[in-house]
Amino acid sequence: MTLAKRIIPCLDVAGGRVVKGVNFLNLKDAGDPVELAKRYGQEGADEITFLDISASVEERTTTLEIVSRTAEQVFIPLTVGGGIRTTQDVDRLLRAGADKVSINTAAIARPQLINEISDRFGNQVLVLSVDARRAGTKSGYEVTTHGGRESADLDALVWIEEAIERGIGEILLNSMDADGTKEGFDLPMIEDVRAISRVPVIASGGAGVIGDFAKAIESGADAVLAASVFHFGEIKISDIKAAWREQGIAVRD
């Protein structure tokens, strides 16, 4: 009787297709998000996250269709992020079949958006995605935008505390220092965010080998999210779960 720690693969989508590298074999259509979501579901994923990186309104409309198709075929929770700026955007995604939405830049630009979403739909639908890196701010971490290229002039821990107060249900903590390095998660950052958060923390960025995931959990993460190591078949979700089971970390069978 323990809440299982979650493993969440993340797919970048645009125009109804999975974009950025995905390199599966024996899949009829590696670019179809629904097929990939199904496959991850079969491999034991505890949730699926779609990050919509559409550049146009037309592409974004297509995302709603893939959310619908996925929700009708994959019976595990589905989170969608990217380009959400209003409660209308959230409403459309939830109606299409998303269970949760994640917001990032739009909340930094207008923090009241958090209150608006959680007042209308409840805080459990709202994931705050934070792209954080080490900096000379009070907590030692700052928030970045544009994939880590720009500083948001915001202390990351101060921002997280404010967002929790305003009404988020989860934090997706992306380490911009660890992202892409494959040298492991930023464990001290996970610990520091865990210490101030009374909502679940999803750790992201830096996963390279199976053992990295357990370390993130031991540092206080409630869930782990990764993209490329799953897409390229470098690490299987089932292998992480097998390792966790041996280490006594609660996993869903």
Binding site: M1, T2, L3, A4, K5, R6, G41, D46, S68, A71, E72, Q73, F75, I76, P77, L94, R95, A96, G97, A98, D99, R120, F121, G122, N123, Q124, V125, G169, E170, S197, R198, V199, P200, D222, A223, R252, D253
Partner: protein, 198 residues
């Protein structure tokens, strides 16, 4: 035929599809006649308790549910759709519920909330809902729950910081705090168990 009560609360697409796999005659509606005649009525619900109650009342859902319970017709509440069956909730101040099940819905005593993710359920002995589902994981997402046993019912429990009601089966009223429509194969089995019982 299964009717899924549409009163503007949350993601009904997955619920509709999940029940459709067990009964191809599944409709999403708030038509009182269809809801009254259906073999089973599913009452979903996400978000805050008070908001759900308001939306339910505005959509005529209170009368629909009361009529079904009065007629002893099967009903399945999910998540906040379970909570609103109780007498009241302390979420954001006291709000009255439908008072079909006696008891109060209160915040779970756990350091990290919401309770989000997959947790196991200790099923009531001889539960029909959990037939074949010993030690299965189900997907929860909530901060509030009913805690005490419902009288004359099969009570199934989960534990997160404290023990709370994960599911209740009393006569023709069944309800789960977790989302069976989001709980993979275990959820599909549970839905099928209910549909088979209708």
């Amino acid at each position: 035929m299964i009717a899924i009560l549409d009163y503007g609360s949350g993601n009904l697409r997955s619920a509709a599809r999940a029940f459709e796999l067990a009964d191809s005659q599944t409709v999403v509606t708030n038509d009182p006649d269809i809801c009254a005649e259906a073999d089973g009525l599913v009452v979903p619900g996400v978000g805050a308790f008070a908001a759900c109650m308001q939306q339910l009342i505005a959509a005529g859902g209170k009368e629909i549910i009361d009529a079904r319970v009065k007629a002893s017709k099967p009903l399945f509440g999910i998540c906040v759709g379970m909570q609103i069956l109780f007498s009241q909730s302390s979420e954001k101040g006291q709000t009255g519920g439908l008072n079909i099940l006696a008891g109060e819905v209160t915040e779970i005593a756990a350091p990290v909330l919401p309770h989000i993710g997959w947790n196991t359920v200790v099923a009531a002995r001889e539960s029909k809902l959990f037939a074949g589902l010993t030690d299965s994981y189900f997907y929860f997402v909530h901060s509030y729950a009913a805690k005490g046993a419902v009288a004359n019912a099969k009570n199934s429990y989960a534990n997160y910081g404290e023990v709370f009601l994960a599911a209740v089966e009393r006569d023709n009223v069944v309800a789960t705090q977790f989302h069976p429509e989001k709980s993979g194969d275990a959820g599909a089995r549970l839905i099928s168990n209910w549909v088979q019982s209708l």
